[in-house]
């Protein structure tokens, strides 16, 4: 019966306009509705499928401001059993390395975890590095970009999908898995699940509770820094090719000129 940890993150809704703060390039959290990242819904779904088939327990771990509770509740309403929420002002502006470190400490709080499931990348930061760094810090195998996960006793089998193709990976538990878009279709939380979520335990921790020095985290102590940020240039009108018998070659010429082929 696997003891599963799912990492979840609250992100600005991809359907609303997302902004960075002018002053320090951190996320302007007030500019958009905050939601549970869709890739994390898939991570939760995968954990629930495993639990439904094999038993065990699903714990949600999230690092984020107080209002990330909403994202945690969503995961609990889908069916996760309990949650650990690391919330601390000192964490503001932390980069992937710091975040992974905090996550590793938080995962360590979940006694006897077998499997950590994460999304392959968050829709806001899109660094896509946290699961790998976390696996390093925990000293366990990483099976990233999974499109299929199978658990047979303590043997984990994953189909990893990348631009090069499909790679079949196998590892022994404990391990870290990150899932991609194709892994599953997440369920809607049932009414019963939503009502039950209210009563599920959420442990709220500060970095001090995790034994991490506040001087190691946050924007001021980050290993990486954002030097510049610019909004995406507006979409241009595009170029229309009128087909006067030579449409095909004109399109090809255009693609060559753009170095697209």
């Amino acid at each position: 019966m696997p003891n599963i940890v799912v990492l979840v993150k609250q992100v600005p809704d991809t359907y609303s306009e997302r902004k960075l703060a002018e002053s320090d390039h951190t996320l302007d959290r007030d500019s958009a509705d905050a939601v549970l990242d869709e890739i994390n819904e898939r991570a939760v779904e995968e954990a629930l499928l495993l639990k439904e088939a094999q038993g065990g327990e699903v714990t949600v771990v999230s690092v984020g401001p107080d209002r990330a509770t909403d994202a945690i509740r969503k995961a609990l309403s889908m069916g996760a059993d309990k949650a650990v929420h690391v919330s601390d002002e000192a964490l503001r502006g932390s980069d992937v390395l710091q975040t992974a470190k905090v996550l590793a400490a938080a995962v360590g709080k979940v006694e006897g975890y077998d499997l950590v499931i994460a999304g392959n990348e968050a829709s806001d930061g899109q660094a896509g590095a946290v699961p790998a760094i976390l696996a390093e810090l925990l000293g366990v195998p990483q099976l990233t970009h999974a499109r299929k996960v199978e658990l047979d006793g303590t043997t984990l089998k994953v189909e990893r999908e990348s631009e090069e193709g499909i790679t079949r990976l196998e590892a022994s538990l404990p391990a870290v898995v990150s899932v991609g878009e194709k892994i599953n279709e997440p369920r809607y939380p049932s009414f019963k699940g939503i009502m039950a979520a209210k009563k599920k335990p959420v442990e709220t921790l500060t970095v001090a509770d995790l034994g991490i020095d506040a001087g190691e985290v946050g924007l001021g102590n980050a290993w990486t820094s954002v030097l510049e940020a610019a909004p995406k240039p507006p979409r241009t009108a595009g170029q229309r090719v009128t087909d006067e018998g030579d449409g095909g070659s004109k399109v090809a010429e255009y693609l060559v000129a753009q170095k697209l082929i």
Binding site: R73, K74, S77, R187, Y188, P189, S190, F191, K192, G193, I194, M195, A197, K198
Partner: protein, 417 residues
């Protein structure tokens, strides 16, 4: 209560997500009548576990009744009256939220579901014997099967019981049914239909005064014809039809309660029992229309520019938005008030429920017509959806008791008549 609880808001967010992904993309098909709403309703029920919840509740009700009947105990009036399958036990708000959110995009879907569960299944639950409940309800409460509830006839709408012509005559231990019904929601597709008919005892009692009995019919019975969907002004996602009964033979097991002398009174009383719930339900439907109109209008007013500025800057546009806000506050308060009262077990009186139904349906219709006006030519075009909301909202003024009847009943309550 002055706002939705945290749990309510989570439910609302989940329903909105479902509507956005699963219903909005099909609104055109639903509106053109190419897609009956039932598959989507079943999907909705499954997604939120409403089917399992309703099955559990039904099972508990039936187990209790069975145990009681085996011990030979009489049921209390309170238990007989408990007809709520969804939203009981402090969660009255969930059903309300589902109702109003659906009405913002597809009121017909809600009407189809509301009639099947709230009128069809609820009537069997309130009036049926244990065996009848066991026979029809398990598949109805999950929407696996669909129910219709047939009272209205071509010559009797507001005067439903007085003018009713559909007639049953005794035939051995059973009955034979003749007559017709019209404007019946789910009529074209229903698997199970609850039919009101008058008993002709052959003793010369005038038609008007005859006893009203309730029967349950199944699709495909000999002599029972369900018409194709009728064309109508709006509410297109809810199929409405005519029913014809030509010497339909009915066993006694289809007479609800299996007695002509029902403890809960005759068919007239049965229909009246549901009036309060149905009427306050209209307020929840109206709220959905008002919320959606307001949302669409605020967005459009900010974005549509004329004379170099958004139309939101024009005072006559602001007046429309402000009126929508007054409507929203009033109708939402009525809805909150009814939820609180249901929790306290003190439902509104019939006169109050009538006043709520009248006000909220008329207000939603005005708001939606104003929304069409605010959108200008776009408002008159289907693409912008407000014209659909206006056509849908208008139906609220007619069914569940037309508004003139509501006004009359509100006044009767005041005058103590």
């Amino acid at each position: 209560m002055f706002e939705w609880s945290e749990t309510d808001e989570m439910v609302r967010a989940a329903i909105r997500e479902f509507i956005g992904k699963e219903i909005r993309p099909h609104v055109d098909e639903l509106e053109h009548g190419d897609l009956p709403p039932y598959e989507l309703l079943r999907k909705l029920f499954a997604a939120f576990g409403i089917d399992a919840l309703a099955s559990d509740t039904l099972k508990k009700i039936l187990d209790k009744q069975r145990a009681r009947e085996e011990s030979g105990e009489q049921s209390s009036a309170k238990e007989r009256g408990s007809t709520s399958l969804l939203g009981a036990g402090g969660q009255e708000s969930l059903g309300v939220i589902l109702c109003s959110e659906l009405c913002g995009v597809s009121m017909g879907m809600l009407a189809a579901m509301g009639v099947s569960m709230g009128l069809g299944a609820a009537t069997i639950l309130a009036r049926g014997t244990l065996a009848q409940k066991e026979r029809w309800l398990p598949e109805l409460v999950t929407m696996e099967k669909v129910a219709a509830w047939a009272l209205t006839e071509p010559d009797s709408g507001s005067d439903a019981f007085g003018g009713m012509k559909s007639t049953v005559r005794r035939d051995g231990d059973g009955y034979v049914l003749n007559g017709q019904k019209t404007f019946i929601t789910n009529g074209p597709y229903a698997d199970t239909t609850v039919v009101y008919a008058k008993l002709d005892e052959g003793d010369g009692t005038p038609q008007r005064d005859r006893k009203v009995l309730l029967f349950v019919l199944d699709k495909g019975m000999d002599g029972f014809v369900q018409s194709k969907p009728m064309r109508k002004m709006g509410l297109h996602s809810s199929p409405t039809g005519e029913l014809f009964f030509d010497n339909v033979k009915l066993g006694r097991d289809r007479l609800l309660g299996e007695t002509e002398e029902h403890k809960g009174g005759d068919g007239r009383d049965s229909a009246k029992q549901g009036f309060v719930t149905e009427r306050v339900g209209v307020a929840a439907m109206a709220l959905g229309v008002i919320n959606e109109c307001q949302r669409l209008c605020v967005e459009y007013a900010k974005q549509r520019e004329l004379w170099g500025k958004p139309i939101a800057d024009f005072q006559l546009i602001q007046l429309k938005l402000a009126k929508m806000e007054v409507a929203r506050i009033n109708v939402q308060n009525m809805v909150f008030n009814t939820i609180e009262r249901a929790r306290a077990g003190k439902m509104p009186t019939l006169a109050e429920a009538s006043a709520i139904k009248w006000y909220s349906s008329e207000t939603a219709t005005e708001v939606a017509m104003d929304a069409v006006q605010l959108f200008g030519g776009n408002g008159y075009m289907s693409e912008y959806r407000v014209e659909q909301l206006a056509r849908d909202a208008k139906s609220l003024m007619i069914y569940a008791g037309s508004n003139e009847v509501q006004i009359t009943q509100t006044a009767k309550g005041l005058l103590g008549q």
